[in-house]
């Protein structure tokens, strides 16, 4: 926190019900924390609704609620996550970001210091992404009726008319490309939630992917599909694609990158990295002859340096995701049932 920001609220001050009451306290909270960190011309219009100039192309819109414990974790916090999560959803539609809205539900008694850290991180992530926070909302709930802070963000972006991304364009013979190692985010969260120490710190992969996506689309405009394998991990994303479809997917276990420290943590806890959440990865489906072009483009970005082709779309066994195992067998890759839990023995 900068010395100037220290004066914006009293040391040790906490969120009170009055901060959501619509009076002076709320106006002060918005001015001293949110407007301070989010400042941009759109937000500075100071209307109830923000006016945005009409862009060329189609509008893409996506919304996401962020409820994470702990709020601060290695590699990020709920603030930057709330920007990256929604921004990436917009990017997966092929959209270039225009603006973001942010709704906060804050629990009475939450330290203003922490709220300030979250808003600062959120403002920084939005600025870095070129996606201004154009409007927002603040509500305060009684102590015990929330979990610190919940943030809902809605992002809007614009998609070029030439881009057509969606499951309807998937067909057998196409390739599945993954942008990098899986499981970093989920294991980082789990480790900090359970106070587990693994010798090396595993950090979340939370990152904005739209710059890489823009370059990928510039090089290969006819990408069939983009998805970010967040909650439910790679297996959920792949299963969503085949659900009710007339094609199946085959992955190659040996080709799916998993960091050694993540794999070790999963071994120890009896978890499968395929089911673990990511926040800075994407899956891309494209024609097989475009794979190398895409890998070359992705390699120019930190977020895609370890990208690999991990499988292909198949015509047989439609509706199923299968995987050639590391030792040469085959198995189904299923949705996760309920919550992934460490083994008993």
């Amino acid at each position: 926190m900068t010395p100037a920001s220290k004066a914006r609220f009293r040391k040790g001050e906490r969120v009170a019900m009055s901060h959501g009451g619509g009076g002076r306290a709320m106006a002060d909270l918005i001015r001293n924390i949110f407007a301070h960190h989010f400042a941009n011309p759109l937000l500075d219009q100071k209307h109830d609704a923000t006016l945005i100039a009409r862009p060329e192309g189609r509008i893409v819109i996506s919304t996401d609620g962020h409820v994470i414990s702990p709020l601060f974790f290695p590699g990020g916090d709920i603030g930057s996550l709330a920007v990256h999560g929604t921004l990436n959803d917009v990017a997966m539609g092929g959209g270039k970001p225009i603006a973001l809205s942010a709704g906060f539900i804050i629990e009475e008694g939450f330290p203003l210091d922490d709220l300030d850290r979250i808003a600062a991180s959120m403002g920084e992530a939005a600025r870095a992404a070129g996606m201004p926070i154009a409007t927002g909302d603040t509500k305060v709930v009684e102590r015990g009726k929330g979990d610190g802070v919940f943030i809902t963000t809605t992002g809007i972006g614009v998609v070029d008319d030439a881009v057509d991304i969606g499951p309807h364009r998937i067909k057998p013979g196409q390739a599945v490309v993954l942008s990098g190692p899986i499981g970093d985010h989920g294991v980082a969260i789990m480790a900090s939630r359970q106070n587990l120490e693994f010798g090396t710190q595993i950090t979340s992969d939370s990152a904005a992917l739209h710059h890489m996506v823009a370059d990928m689309l510039a090089a290969v405009p006819d990408i069939a599909l983009l998805r970010d394998p967040t909650r439910g991990g790679l297996s959920a994303t792949m299963n969503e694609l085949v659900d009710g479809a007339d094609f199946g997917l085959i992955m190659d276990e040996a080709a799916i990158p998993v960091r050694t420290e993540v794999a070790s943590a999963c071994e120890l806890l009896g978890l499968d990295p395929l089911h673990i959440a990511n926040e800075g990865k994407l899956v891309c489906i494209c024609d097989m002859d475009k794979v190398q072009t895409l890998l070359d483009v992705m390699a120019q970005h930190d977020e895609g340096r370890e990208a690999r082709c991990i499988g292909e779309v198949c015509a047989d066994q439609p509706g199923f995701v299968r995987m050639k195992t590391a030792i040469g067998g085959m198995r189904v890759v299923d949705w996760l049932s309920g919550e992934q839990l460490p083994r008993i023995c």
């Binding site: 359970q194 040996a254 050694t260 794999a263 070790s264 071994e267 009896g270 066994q317 199923f320 299968r322 195992t325 590391a326 030792i327 040469g328 067998g329 085959m330 198995r331 189904v332 299923d334 049932s337 309920g338 919550e339 839990l341 460490p342 083994r343 008993i344 023995c345």
Partner: protein
């Protein structure tokens, strides 16, 4: 990852598969029971059976701690949370297993019971310390692997004189269950499962050693190989069993020698022995009442025994009708033989414990081999009228 990647090496797997194919006698069938659900899932997760010749069969045994807990004991746990208002702590999988009328601990929780998932017995102790005005019960389940942590919790609670912590003890013993399976043909000829050897539970053996399985070779003339959980561990163990069968040898061999010794962890055994004693008999789901197959808390530590502190009512407990979990747990049937499999019973809507547990046979078939299993079931159904 030292000691993990080495045991998933594709080249070594290919070589081992070739040796198994060469040494398996095509004139005979090999039926090997993997007692432990962890092996079942390793076999399915890595597609080990795809690398086996057609005459090598895996028979899935009752070695899943969640699967074998009878509905009555689960109903008792739910009653503890419901009627006695305790904080009931349990390992995760247990929460979803349906009890009588498909009511699970998770359902009880959603209805207001204080049921908490914990990762260790020490977490349950912590909850007890933090809630001195509430009684905290840890639902202890599992084989010899999870018993030492339960013993440690009681020991610690005793030393701290914690007055609000008890254990609902459902710890069971593997050798007694295996003995019971092998005695089954004598009890009921319909139950005869042809077994040519056992893949012995390795996590269990890290605690009790390989010695407790020697009766299988001596008395029952069944080869045993204590097997690790990596795919190459399983394949190498299968090869060791095939060689024993081919050569007419009957021994307890230890494939998992990097962790398991003949004597096991004697310190853990002493701790378990101090806190627990053998029950005369215990009900197993699928196996019925099995003599000397479970543990209860010794009188000295009775203050930490939930069964002694709380009065649990007599009640009628019922498993879901048509659920074949009991026969599947005995190795008599496979998941495809259950009419409910994939029909009304899936991991989202489990009818029996084998579909709930992450180590259950039905969950393994559903998760890793669903397409083939459903196709087999459809084919068998189509054949039925002609039979």
């Amino acid at each position: 990852m030292k000691y993990v990647e080495e045991f998933r090496d594709p080249k070594l797997a290919e070589n081992l598969a070739a040796v198994i194919r060469a040494e398996a006698d095509s004139a005979r069938e090999y039926n090997f029971m993997e007692f432990c659900g962890g092996h079942t899932h390793a076999i399915f997760r890595y597609g080990v059976q795809d690398l086996m010749p057609d005459n090598v069969h895996f028979v899935h045994g009752p070695g899943c701690p969640v699967c074998i807990l009878p509905v009555r004991r689960l109903d008792d746990a739910i009653e503890l949370a419901d009627r006695h208002g305790v904080i009931l702590c349990s390992y995760g999988d247990m929460l979803r297993v349906p009890g009588t009328k498909r009511r699970s601990l998770m359902v009880a929780k959603s209805e207001g019971a204080d049921v908490r998932m914990v990762y260790s017995t020490l977490d349950a102790l912590k909850i007890a310390r933090e809630n001195p005005d509430k009684q905290v019960v840890f639902l202890g389940i599992g084989f010899e692997t999870t018993t030492p942590p339960s013993a440690l919790a009681i020991k610690q609670a005793s030393e701290e004189e914690l007055e609000n912590f008890t254990l609902f003890c459902n710890h069971v013993l593997t050798p007694a269950a295996i003995r019971h399976i092998l005695d089954a043909p004598e009890i009921d000829p319909e139950e005869a499962v042809r077994l040519d050897g056992f893949l012995g539970p390795s996590h269990v053996s890290t605690v009790i050693g390989s010695q407790p399985y020697e009766f299988l070779a001596d008395k029952y003339q069944k080869p045993v190989v204590i097997a690790g959980f990596e795919p190459l561990d399983v394949m190498q163990s299968v090869l060791m069993l095939i060689r024993q069968v081919n050569e007419g040898r009957v021994e307890v061999q230890n494939q998992y020698a990097r962790v398991v010794t003949r004597e096991g962890n004697e310190r853990a055994q002493d701790l378990v022995d101090e806190i627990f004693e053998i029950r005369p008999a215990f009900e197993w789901r699928g196996l019925g009442s099995v003599p000397e197959s479970a543990l209860s808390i010794r009188e000295k530590y009775a203050a930490f025994d939930a069964e002694k502190r709380f009065e649990i009512s007599e009640k009628v407990s019922r498993e879901v009708k048509s659920c074949e979990c009991p026969a599947i747990l005995r190795g008599v049937k496979k998941p495809k033989d259950c009419k409910l499999f994939g029909n009304v019973c899936t991991p989202e809507t489990p009818m029996g414990s084998c579909m709930v547990s992450s180590e259950g046979s039905c969950a393994a078939y559903w998760t890793y081999r669903r397409a083939e299993t459903l196709a087999e079931m459809a084919a068998e159904r189509d054949l039925e009228p002609a039979q």
